[in-house]
């Protein structure tokens, strides 16, 4: 089993109020790069800052890392359009950061990134892949993508209050700028990514298609962003079994209907509840309030812990250890960036 994290970025994420994957839009640019470092090394390396939401909820990278320290799975990070340098080792798939979907083309070069990732998915020797993402603003591009495919499924949010009206305006502007209609690209999934998607979609879809082609099994480790990936994989015509492992926080989001996703896209959906309500620890309490919900393969990592027979109490203890190992000054500095007014 290999846990593959596709890390990327878009200009879409810089729209005020669209994402909580960073204390400020500036810091959000670094979030995927540092998520990759936390997953790989257990802490940030290229920067002092720990990615937190505007209220201080730490990145789900902390949770996936904590489980990795218990289960011991191999990880591989793909540079799926990073906008910041990272000290985590990455495989390049030739992706650039995505543009704002309100521009004419959101992801120029989608086909090349898809094919490069597909070749990698075919070549990796592992018989099972868990495929994860970290890309701020990813639920907005997921919403646009699903609409372009004509797959009427709702998306989640890293914010406790899903900014659905704002997302709707952004998606509509994206469709206008690209001159496309809902469902208009149902038969052209790569064109849908290019028009209104993001580079992580091109990467994880290519990787998944390649892995399925070579007979490997794939678990999409994440929430509604990975539902969009499943939509792409099905639109491309792959009919192999496909699993989605996500968190109870995504399942509890009223905007999300996982049963519908499972039925529409023939997905084997599993939901894991890490029981964060049973702890007061700062690393976990904001999740209970509905923040973050998913990311960096958190749902997949929780499913792996369960499969290995590691109890959620043990998982929570380890999350506390990983979080407490992070530099407290760096965390409060990250939060101060917000308190100072979103510089």
């Amino acid at each position: 089993m290999r846990f593959v994290l596709a890390a990327g970025s878009t200009k879409t994420a810089r729209i005020e109020g669209i994402s909580a994957a960073g204390a400020t839009p500036e810091l959000m640019t670094q979030t995927p790069a540092i998520d990759a470092e936390i997953l790989t090394y257990g802490q940030p390396v290229s920067s002092e800052l720990v990615p937190v939401s505007p209220t201080g909820c730490p990145t789900p990278a902390v949770i996936s890392r904590a489980i990795r320290e218990q289960v011991g799975f191999d990880t591989t990070v793909l540079d799926a359009g990073l906008a910041a340098e990272t000290d985590a080792p990455t495989v390049s798939v030739g992706a650039d950061p995505g543009r704002d979907i309100r521009e004419n083309r959101a992801v120029p070069g989608t086909e090349a990134v898809f094919e490069r990732s597909r070749r990698l998915g075919r070549s990796l020797p592992d018989d099972e892949l868990f495929v994860a993402e970290t890309i701020p603003g990813g639920t907005t591009t997921a919403a646009a993508l699903l609409r372009a495919l004509g797959t009427d499924l709702g998306v989640s949010s890293s914010l406790p209050e899903n900014p659905l009206a704002l997302k709707e305006r952004v998606v509509t502007a994206g469709f206008d700028a690209s001159g496309i209609d809902p469902g208009g690209l149902a038969d052209a999934p790569l064109a849908a990514i290019e028009a209104v998607g993001d580079p992580v979609q091109a990467t994880v879809t290519g990787l998944t298609v390649g892995a399925l082609e070579s007979g490997s099994s794939v678990t999409l480790a994440g929430g509604t962003q990975l539902v969009a990936t499943a939509g792409l994989v099905r639109a491309i015509g792959r009919e192999e079994p496909l699993a989605l492992a996500t968190t109870a926080f995504v399942a509890a989001d009223p905007a999300v209907d996982l049963d519908a996703a499972a039925a529409t896209l023939d997905l084997d959906v599993s939901v894991t509840d890490p029981g964060f309500a049973r702890t007061e620890h700062v690393a976990m309490q904001r999740y209970v309030a509905g923040e973050a919900k998913e990311g960096v393969g958190m749902g997949g990592a929780l499913a792996l812990a369960e499969r290995e027979g590691i109890g959620m109490g043990t998982v929570r203890d380890r999350i506390a250890v990983v979080y407490d190992r992070l530099d407290p000054a760096a965390i409060s500095e990250s939060k101060r960036a917000t308190d100072g007014g979103g510089r």
Copy 2:
């Protein structure tokens, strides 16, 4: 503990007869990229070919990988000037492939690569690093570097017959082209790399200096190429304890005096004999004939196996498993490239 592999290349390696790190000069360009894949995934991913010497001796990456499968250590690959694409995840230190040392400047931009690697060495959270290399032609650049520093230590070879006369001509031409004299850059180690070294030297020296500065312990995992690194670290003025872990094949090379290296550079040298003479397996028999000898941290990996109490019989069994898992057609194809006359 983290096992860091710096993978790079130079035009120097393309000089006919200088290295056995590939069946032909063309295939040699791919060797470091594929070594990184074998260490990471257990087999080549981006190519069908397995790096072998002209006589079919497989790359020492097979040995380090086999031990990794038993000891379970974390690995990180640095792109220290790769000339071929790799599907292994890498951290960029901004290095380009090195030129031919017979040109005026062998490694333009040495200082930037050194400083980037030094920052990484300081920032990595591990309290112990094993530092390894894969760069064809690396013993020739090591010889040139040691001479520039005025450290009179011999170098090994990946060939059973060390081509000392050829190396001597290349090194002399390098000194002429750079307008330097033996010992002339004893106080300017980075200038010595820039004049007659290679990008892996800039990377591993920076990484080692940074790690020592932050209080981590470092074991240089390799042969005379890492002796040259030790020379650079000492010339830069770091006086911390420094270990070198290499193989019995390097120690047996009459051109090499590890005792002198230990004394001159204050190195804690350890030598491990994997007992390959006790097996007829094709993956190991050419080592007994003096081929390859070291590379991809083989000596360090053997030392780690010993530290973990894994017997050399167990190590040899696992090497056979890893080798036999490789595609036999790919191995014979790699050899045929040579038999066909070095196309």
